[in-house]
């Protein structure tokens, strides 16, 4: 039985037929197993406060008193100084797209019809000096950014802001930010 799958142009169907998973696993030499692995991660001091902040529509970070790095997502310690980050800072949430990608590739390297557009957002952090360190940032979805924006390079440096879910839908989760979207001209 043929399975409908997106095929690249020029694909020639090989001889034979596709097996259903049940048929495949009934072949000698294949033993099916489904793992049971569930966890309840302790988010810890830093990320717990960060996640609570998201529920309130705030992006919180911590600052290293020695080197001045602002960590978003926050850490209770500076990775570079191995010192406690004692100061909390609230970031405005705005920032610029540092790098972005439009991806059509699926897990098994098949091509998808709809692309995913994701990026790393350099957040506006108080006291940040360009080039001073890696910057505070979040990896997230980009919406309102087209594949052409990304592929032409227009997306890089684009001013963006978080599109928050309505307060009643927020769960203290990074998905409380639906995505980052471009700030309309003249607003940011």
């Amino acid at each position: 039985m043929a399975v409908e799958k997106p095929r690249r142009p020029g694909w020639v169907e090989p001889p034979g037929h596709y097996l259903k998973s049940r048929e495949m696993y009934s072949l000698p030499g294949l033993v099916e197993y489904k793992p049971r692995a569930r966890y309840l991660f302790s988010a810890g001091q830093a990320q717990s406060r960060f996640l609570r902040g998201l529920r309130e529509g705030k992006i919180l970070g911590t600052r290293c008193p020695r080197c001045g790095r602002v960590y978003v997502p926050p850490r209770m310690f500076c990775e570079y100084c191995h010192a406690p980050t004692t100061e909390w800072v609230e970031l405005p949430g705005t920032g610029r797209v540092h790098t972005a990608v439009v991806s059509y590739i699926g897990t098994f390297r098949e091509r998808r019809e709809e692309p995913e557009i994701v990026g790393v957002i350099q957040l506006d952090a108080p006291g940040y000096v360009e080039g001073g360190y890696e910057f505070a940032g979040l990896f997230h979805r980009l919406c309102g950014v087209t594949p052409e924006d990304v592929m032409s390079g227009r997306a890089i440096g684009m001013r963006v802001r978080p599109r928050w879910r309505p307060p009643e839908e927020r769960r203290g989760d990074v998905n409380d930010i639906e995505c980052f979207e471009p700030i309309p001209e003249g607003e940011g």
Partner: protein, 409 residues
């Protein structure tokens, strides 16, 4: 009789390397110059594993007087991805250790195996100061049974749905008792003693004032062991700073030396049919390797005390025999004579062992080494032979063990 002959005679499967192949490596001595710990509670819900490790690391660096960003040459982390719930979890190791952009790697095994790696790195001459870390947060794992099942052979053991593979400890206990004549009473004596000794240890959340009768009367967990004879889990992080002899003398006036390390794995996990039931030859092979390096022929007379595997009560007795501290089948008699108590002929698990402290997964071996280190650092004058044997076994369903010999002189 020397250990070499004893082990070879008892276990034809253990291939004993001639002393020269290991003993020839007599380069620099390796010392432990600082140690830190955090957690050691059944649950540490207020800290992430990163924060737990950071806390332990800060304490270790403070004691050693080192800055991890400038004074440490390399880092070794010990954990397993499925315990962590993170694939490729070694990528998470550098941050809390101050090891970002520094030589770091992970040993997917017990912390004592990590200690052995650091030992080799320093002896090679390529590194002067190496940090070893191990941590565990079993309280984060919801389906511990599911994770255990993943450790069983997928083809001929998992389909039997054997439940928690801790049952293999019962198979070993029964076989050990049948062979040696050790009784349920002996096993209960181990548990009662360890639970009480842990009462003075700040790392022992499972310590309790219990009697042998309390142990015997607690509900059966895994026959022949009762609830109080099976160690519960513990969240913990342990960090140790190791240094070459030159660096150690710069950092401290009283280093504790790591004079020998050894490790071995028996038949593959899941091949339960091939295990030598009632024995743990991996402990024996690991001990032999460590003893040869440390120049130990007779552990009971050349070392002063031991911290050994006891996550099941019988394992303490079996470990002492596999380590050559007790003769074949003679550990129970030593226990009866009181030889294993603090201040006696050969104190064992004065920390309270895992029965008091619990099982912090891959941090268990490094924690046992921590207990021996602290005792040698603070109390070495109490021993004619201020040296310790540390032995760790990774627990069901594995047959991997590691042994270290520590010395205050």
């Amino acid at each position: 009789m020397g250990v070499h002959t004893y082990v070879a005679a008892a276990h034809p499967n253990i291939v004993v390397a001639p002393p020269t192949s290991v003993g020839r490596i007599l380069m620099r001595r390796v010392a432990i110059v600082g140690a830190g710990w955090a957690g050691f509670r059944p649950q540490v819900p207020e800290l992430s594993f990163r924060e737990l490790v950071y806390e332990a690391a800060s304490r270790a660096y403070e004691e050693a007087g080192v800055d991890p960003r400038s004074d440490v040459d390399a880092f070794v982390s010990c954990q397993e991805d499925y315990w962590e719930g993170i694939a490729i979890a070694d990528e998470f190791a550098p941050e809390p250790l101050g090891a970002v952009l520094r030589p770091t790697y992970t040993v997917a095994g017990d912390g004592l195996q990590g200690l052995a790696q650091a030992f080799m790195m320093i002896r090679s001459g390529a590194f002067d100061v190496v940090v070893v870390e191990a941590h565990a947060k079993p309280s984060d794992i919801v389906t511990l049974d599911g994770i255990y099942e993943l450790a069983l052979d997928p083809l001929h053991v998992r389909p039997l749905r054997p439940g928690n593979p801790l049952f293999t400890a019962g198979l070993d206990a029964v076989a050990y008792m049948a062979r040696t004549g050790a009784s349920r009473l002996h096993l209960a004596m181990v548990a009662a003693a360890n639970k009480r000794m842990g009462l003075s240890n700040p790392r022992a959340p499972h310590a309790a004032r219990v009697t042998v009768d309390d142990v015997l009367e607690s509900p059966t967990y895994i026959y022949p062991m009762s609830q109080l004879e099976v160690a519960p889990f513990t969240d913990a992080a342990v960090v140790m700073v190791l240094a070459s002899d030159e660096a150690a003398r710069r950092l401290t006036d009283a280093p504790v030396w790591l004079d020998g390390v050894g490790w071995a794995t028996e038949v593959g996990t899941g091949a339960v049919e091939f295990h030598e039931w009632g024995r743990m030859p991996s402990i024996r092979a690991a001990a032999l390797m460590a003893y040869q390096m440390a120049g130990v022929d007779s552990p009971a007379s050349q070392t002063g005390f031991a911290e050994v595997e006891d996550r099941f009560s019988f394992m303490e007795l079996l470990a002492l025999e596999e380590l050559g501290v007790a003769g074949e089948g003679e550990a129970a008699a030593m226990l009866e004579r009181g030889d294993l108590a603090p201040g006696a002929f050969y104190p064992v698990n004065q920390s309270g062992g895992s029965l008091s402290v619990g099982v912090p997964l891959e941090a268990t071996g490094l924690w046992r080494a921590l207990e021996a280190y602290l005792e040698l650092r603070d109390n070495s004058g109490a021993y004619d032979q201020p040296r310790a044997v540390v032995a760790s076994w990774r627990g069901p369903p594995t047959y991997t063990s590691a042994v270290a010999v520590l010395s205050a002189v």
